[in-house]
Symmetry: C2
DNA sequence: TAAAGCATATTATAATACAAAAGTAATAAT
DNA sequence: ATTATTACTTTTGTATTATAATATGCTTTA
């Protein structure tokens, strides 16, 4: 029986359940999925709900279905990894340290360029938003009741927004997920937090001063630090 | 009535039709979509087909639906732009020169980093693939019957693959679309093609010689050329 | 042997019915 | 008069049944 999750209707729950199973490799490309009729029986639900789940998974690139052939699993390279659900299913099934490295490689591509674009194209109110996040980080660095992580997320999201390019801003969920995974592997060392906040402040200042190259380099440095930490962690564990 | 497209079943056709209309702004966030019943009547189809289309659009982040409230359009910032369908709907409705600039800003983030990763992590067979694409470009540069564009696409795709990071490779459809839009705005100047092919060859060589920084810089230069061309074009038309 | 047709399994579409959710209006109680 | 409760209404959510379309394999036939 499907795990019940609040606020999700039946077809969405089945989507979640099947999506998770597919990404976890419980159904291979060769074997495919059970037929609609079998899924109805397994879950004890109507064909309507099963079909709607199948359609949603197909829309995310995980499966495809044809008459007489049944439901087949698409190659993982066709899965839409930038879909929030697919991403969460992926994290549920993969050793997160390895995925984290991939995340950081991606962030190293996206965020420095976003910072550069922000320095070039951000509106004043965008920069105010970034500064607000920096202030929140400064507060959180000393105040134990405030969340450093939330402020950090707000910072990176607002930079993406300030890039004024929707393809960059669209990646905010991706970045959010990456940050979530990061803190799972970070020892809570409040000692560095003040310095970290100031590193972020520098980026904000570079953007406000309209220095694209400087903003880019500072952002690269910021993420590179996290990267070197993770690489050390990977080496330590192997 | 919905436009008939080959190889698409009814619910997929309706998905296409509604998706296009939503992205084109024919339904706003405030107004929302017609009710399922109304859509059935408009398209002259059953509720089954309409609901499946609605579910697929919801899976792509374009809409959401609730009892009594009907179907509402999500904010554009929630649309999954990295979905191939959504991307094509976007191109159908936006002035492509502006979108093209956003594409190039994104490519400028992704591809140089992908080249650097390829130089670091690519397997030998990955590099062979890149080289094959380079050879195809060289051929196409002089042979009018061969397609320069196809070879170009193969090159960029194989570099993404060689990065050995699935988040990068996942963007191949995005890059493909970007290249397609590019050639719509490029005057077919076969004169440069030989030089262009050699620029690509240099990147391939840098990757084979395991020079991440060099590969990155060369790729940046390559895309920057396209960018400056587009910016000139935008200025010319304004 | 090859082509045509037939059987069969599975998804695709339709139609209908009822349940659930969420507003809205009417009613009752204080 | 205000608030709480109830009943009603609209729309999506789920179930059921039936039939069509599609693709595959098998069988028959020329």
């Amino acid at each position: 029986m499907v795990r019940i999750i609040e606020n999700l209707n039946l077809s969405e729950q089945v989507t979640n359940d099947l999506g998770r199973a597919i990404v976890a490799g419980e159904y291979s490309c060769e074997s495919g999925l059970p037929t609609e009729a079998q899924l109805c029986e397994e879950y004890g639900i109507s064909r309507t709900a099963v079909r709607e789940a199948v359609k949603m998974l197909a829309a995310k690139g995980l499966i495809s279905s044809r008459p007489r052939q049944g439901i087949s699993v698409e190659q993982p390279s066709n899965w839409n990894l930038y879909d929030t659900s697919v991403l969460s299913w992926l994290l549920d099934s993969s050793p997160s340290l390895h995925v984290l490295k991939e995340f950081l490689q991606m962030r190293l591509a996206i965020e420095p360029q976003a910072a550069a674009l922000a320095a070039e194209f951000a509106r004043d109110e965008d920069i105010d938003q970034i500064e607000k996040a920096v202030e929140a980080m400064r507060t959180a660095a000393t105040d134990p009741s405030a969340s450093m992580h939330d402020a950090d997320l707000a910072f990176h999201t607002s930079v993406l927004f300030a890039s004024r390019n929707r393809f960059f801003f669209q990646l905010r969920d991706f970045i959010r997920t990456a940050l979530n995974v990061s803190i799972q592997h970070t020892t809570p060392a409040k000692a560095n937090d003040v310095a970290v906040a100031e590193d972020h402040a520098k980026i904000c200042l570079a953007i406000r001063n309209r220095q694209p190259e400087r903003a880019k380099n500072l952002m690269t440095h910021l993420i590179d630090e996290a990267m070197s930490f993770i690489e050390a962690e990977i080496k330590r564990r192997s």
